[in-house]
Amino acid sequence: MIDLIQNTLDGAMIGSSYALLALGFTLIFGTMRRLNLAYGPTIMAGAYLGTYAALRLGIGAVPVALLVVAGAALAGLYVERLCFRPFGEGAAITSMISSFAVWMQIEEAATLVLPQHLNAFPPLVAGAPITLGPFFFRLDHLLMLVVAAAAAALVHGVLHHTRFGLGVRTVIDHKRAAELVGVPVMRTLTLAFVLACAIGGLAGFLIAASEAQITPMFGMWATTKGLIAMMLGGLGSLPGAIVGGLALGVIEAHAQWLFGPLVRDLIAWGLLFAVLAFFPGGLLGAREAGQAAALQRRV
């Protein structure tokens, strides 16, 4: 029983970073209606920049975090310009493949900068875990939860209490209508894209810092985890991304403890497959999927 609760707590803390990953992913999908496969590699570009600076200049955790976020945002701008901006509506597949091409570019560029497979990443905090009764909490995981929650709250605030956020939500609801009421759609799309990559960068920093290492596989890892969390919660739903991320973290923690890492990944993918096959709307995205289905039935 104690193990059960401990695993759930650990899972929720790690899940908070998955939630942040999924939040960025969903923001891109919601505004663009396209999948950015290069999302994970974009984050990796930032993380490699941070690692490189930490190794060469010996800077601390906070400047590294800023570098990671800035690097991810910059790489995101590159992806947006190359893979999303040039294509009009209805070219979702083209954008997807194009973002995959950029994925390969970033991955190779990262290995050229730091040729070693495994690179040390500066940890966020060092120190003994806090014990609370029978449970213990790793400091960096706690900090991960706090930072992720703060970031999610900040994103919520930006989306709901600023003019830019209103624009983003309008674009998510209906791009054409947003254009008609005077939202600068193109600028909003670019800004939302860059913001999403910055959020992803923060998530990437938290994860890399708690693992204290980074490999060229990180890009693929971040894309797949973000994808699963996003789809679990429901495509295009921002609260769904948070729920999906937390759920994925908790499920993975239990599966890892019970069956080991291989079966953990098998369960994560199996869950995604089952959700898609049986509840295509995800946990919180049912509204949109239901609408589409209703529309099809009516036709």
Binding site: L35, L37, L82, C83, P86, F87, A91, A92, I93, T94, M96, I97, S98, F100, A101, V102, W103, M104, Q105, E107, E108, A109, L112, M220, T224, L227, I228, M231, L235, L262, V263, D265, L266, W269, G270, L272, F273, L276, A277, P280, V299
Partner: protein, 313 residues
């Protein structure tokens, strides 16, 4: 021909199968990230058939293709009512599940005093049929290309058939197709099974060429690559995916022209190419232009021949 060239050509031929497999689904209007799953099924099934069960190559390849088709049909039944991104994700999820399942799958059998068979993450080695039966790489390559030519001929035949039209219709506008009495789900299911068979066949050929496969060979990279080949080469003709494979493996991987930063060059090339030609090099317009050129040329030749024969009289 030297061995390196034969190896590269074999590889191009084999990867073309999985690229064509993704292309079939693109025609039907579905994007699959998971054709590598059926490629893996074919590789493992055909490999086990020759290496463990000591079957000859041809029935082993056939079984690989059949298992690919069967799995694809079962997965298709569960997922084909999804569209767009949902379908793409479902296929990816299935492929990753299968890859991990192969990492857990151990089935080793004593064959002539040594253990043969899939061994989880350590992979599946000693698929030595070609070696044991003294088939040279050049002979194998010829076999691969004969099969590929048959498949391409089959595509050409289907393109002119009623089913081919239904397939393109379902891909271009599923709603309109449905209104005209085409059962889109059924057409897509047949397409998915055919795509699974193609990938399974390619997988069997792949396992026998390499003699060793491991689950890591069949990851998302292979899936997205095979999808990308069609988009680079062009969606207008069945030769498009083959052209895509030729450009990537033939030109960039094998020439070692950009050793060390090949992916940066290839990735940039693809991204820019897609901006300039969103439906690939051989898109519908290019195909139309080429075919009208060929027809024009043939017409001109025929006219000249007629002219000459008239003059002779």
């Amino acid at each position: 021909m030297d061995d390196h060239l034969v190896g590269v050509l074999c590889n191009i031929g084999i990867i073309s199968f999985v690229a064509l497999s993704a292309y079939v689904l693109l025609l039907a209007g579905e994007v699959s990230f998971g054709q590598q799953a059926f490629f893996a099924m074919g590789a493992y099934a055909a490999g086990m058939a020759t290496a463990v069960l000591r079957w000859p190559l041809a029935p082993a390849l056939l079984v690989g293709a059949l298992i690919g088709a069967l799995t694809a049909a079962i997965v298709g039944r569960a997922t084909l009512r999804l569209t767009g991104l949902y379908f793409a994700m479902a296929t990816l999820a299935f492929a990753e599940m299968l890859r991990i399942a192969f990492e857990l799958f151990v089935w080793q059998v004593d064959v002539d005093g040594s253990l043969v068979g899939p061994k989880g993450t350590d992979g599946f080695g000693d698929i030595r049929y070609l070696f044991e039966n003294e088939i040279t790489p050049a002979q194998y390559m010829a076999g691969v290309y004969v099969l590929l030519a048959l498949v391409l001929a089959g595509f050409a035949a289907i393109d002119r058939s009623r089913f081919g039209r239904m397939l393109r219709q379902a891909g271009a506008d599923p709603l309109l197709a449905e209104l005209q009495g085409v059962s889109v789900v059924r057409v897509r299911l047949v397409a998915a099974a055919a795509a699974g068979a193609l990938a399974g066949l390619g997988g069997g050929l792949y396992a026998h060429l390499l003699t060793y496969v491991e689950p890591g060979n069949f990851n998302i990279m292979l899936g997205v690559h095979s999808l990308a080949y069609g988009l680079i080469g062009g969606l207008g003709t069945v030769l498009g995916p083959v052209l895509g494979v030729l450009i990537d493996i033939g030109l960039l991987e094998s020439s070692r022209l950009f050793e060390g930063y090949r992916m940066i060059v290839f990735g940039g090339l693809v991204a820019v190419l897609l901006i300039v030609r969103p439906r690939g090099l051989l898109d519908e317009r290019a195909v139309h232009w080429i075919s009208s050129c060929v027809k024009g040329l043939a017409g001109a030749l025929a006219a000249r021949r007629l002219d000459r024969s008239l003059r002779r009289r």
